[in-house]
Symmetry: none
Subunit: 209 residues, 4 copies
DNA sequence: TATGAATGAGTATTCATTCAT
DNA sequence: GATGAATGAATACTCATTCAT
């Protein structure tokens, strides 16, 4: 929905987005009803549908905004850094810092990644993020500082570590964002360098079903 | 619900679990109604509630079964292996192999991890899995083959990589389970060894909000 | 929706159809809410949707039933009558008799004829009815007892007279069905015979935009 | 609502009426929302309620205008014609000509005739039209050119034929208005003259329920 | 005159669960 | 063990109308 909004209208819209984000994060998207949102704000039901076509549209709006904001934050953190490995580090650090400041969005993104209705949007954002990292990785490989390997796959690996440790360390164990980032970066860069030694004879030849 | 079941009763119950698993995986837990399940099986509604107290209970049953099965599969893969790093490798490989054979459960577990009602159960299973790996990691550290670090945290890191790459490589890009496992293992073992070099002057001292 | 129904179920269904027909006729289709129907019957809302997929489906069911019933009644009235003009007469008479006994349906059919969602169904029934009459008309023409003319068009003309006079004389002025039928038949048969005299010089050459 | 309007105001009002007429005709009265009307015209909601008290009032306005216009058109067509049968013919012809030029109104009138809220108005207009014809019919009877019969009832019969054949021939089969009028007039005048022969023994004595 | 914002009762429909048979 | 029937609270969304600016 695109509508010309007055200042007051713009404020209402932001208010709706803010309140809904909080409720969605705490309760989940499905369990949070439109009624709950408008009642919580003390406005009539029509207000919601004046600003959004549907509950779904509002959620997509929220997601898009979050993705954009995060990406901008990452770009700013990386800007002008010539060293590809440093860019990877700064990117990870920026992500975790941003998530620490927007805990609601973490929950929302996790949910959206799974729900059929929104997963496509999330996959898209993920792809963009992964391609960003992949560029740095490729450069690192070219410089001989990272082992050969598919940069996009490695990007996904980094994303996986970042998400899991952010959830567990940052949000569950309440570690400092800086220290979480240190841990993630250490593991990620180690992972990028890979492992080449022999573990146990025959191990790598184990076949799967 | 605990009920003494005849052989026929046990079969009905398994049939319900099987069909529900497939529907939940394809459509999601919330969107799949009890009506859909009993209709799909051509039985009356009472049947469902004869075997399960609620839709939720059925889902928990499914999750518990999956977690148990996966764990047993991992244990069997690791049994009698003395080398801790090899145990880690075999564990990862077993997980991916199992998931390749039970794609429905992957979706279900992802969903359950987020939904308030089931996340506790998932966290518990995750904790068990992570503690398993953590034991091997600790041994590896003691043997000087893995860098110092919190084994539980490292376990979570491995879980993160495994999940993400399984989703992307195994289920989206349809790679062979064996090659997915190779990639994960390589990255994970590299990550465990960590990274100690200097990236760019001052990089690690960047502080986050 | 097709569902195996018990005797009790069949009764409920009929009860719903009967009550809804009355409400629709009195209040209109749109203004009559599902809530009103189930409350009027003192049952829960689910009952409605156990028997019908939607309010629309119920209405279509009602219409179809009415059309069928009316058609059977007409056929019975005409059966074995060799004279085509008599068959036309009996058909008209049967229609009016039936409508007198089912006043609710008259209203419903009128509404349905206009509403986009149902008009197609009504047009179909109308077409069938018109074709029935057209057959008799054609025979009448062949026997030289009816003037040349498109039998289908003449059938529509008869339908128009019947509907209008039924509404006005039968339902508004509360005339006896028999006398309404007499009037309709007289006009219809006269109309079939047509008019061939000159009215006023040039009259038939008046052109329209 | 009566409001003194500036020239510009009058134009706005006409614009609203015109646009609404088209929307109502295409989509129906209920399904066409005030929002749709004002959006379609690119004006705010207040505009609508500045010119009309309600959606209903606007519709009534439309209907009244149409009825008036049609009646004037008929009167003009009949003016100074001394022959009553010719006046009937000219009246029918004028109606069909007018409807051919205002197809939207035909739909609107059909709808309004059924809806509880508007049917009274339509019945009134119908009565006027019927009384007009009835006057000519009575004269025709007095001149011995039309069979005895209630002129008002015969007027309704003519209206019925006209409406049905207009819908089917003019709007559905897209015949020329002139030829539709010819058909209607032929049938109507034939109907007025009635039918006096015996059809089948006993036919007219069939009694209805 | 006109606008955008707000109201809130009302709509059809869903669905986990219960129950009489 | 099993069935079909019933419950009723809950949901997203609509829309004629009002109002402050």
């Amino acid at each position: 929905m695109t509508r010309r909004l007055t200042t007051r209208g713009q404020q209402r819209r932001d208010q709706l987005i803010g309140f809904a984000t909080a409720r969605f994060a705490e309760n989940g998207f499905h369990p949070t009803s439109v009624t709950e949102i408008v009642n919580g704000l003390g406005v009539g039901k029509g207000v919601f549908y004046w600003y959004f076509d549907s509950k779904e549209e509002l959620f997509i709006e929220i997601l898009r905004g979050a993705q954009q904001d995060l990406r901008r934050f990452q770009e700013k953190a990386i800007a002008n850094e010539p060293d590809p490995l440093a860019r990877i580090e700064f990117g990870i650090r920026a992500s975790i810092t941003w998530l620490a400041g927007h805990p609601d969005f973490f929950t929302l993104l996790q949910f959206a990644a799974i729900d059929e209705k929104f997963s496509k949007l999330i996959r898209l954002g993920e792809e963009i993020a992964v391609n960003d990292v992949a560029r740095h990785i490729r450069e690192g490989i070219d410089q001989g500082r990272i082992d050969e390997g598919d940069p996009v796959v490695l990007g996904h690996a980094i994303l996986g570590v970042t998400n899991q440790l952010t959830r567990v360390l940052l949000f569950e164990k309440k570690y400092e964002p800086g220290s979480v980032a240190d841990t993630v970066i250490r593991f990620a860069l180690g992972g990028l360098r890979g492992f080449s030694g022999v573990i146990a004879a025959g191990a790598l030849s184990v076949t799967s079903t």
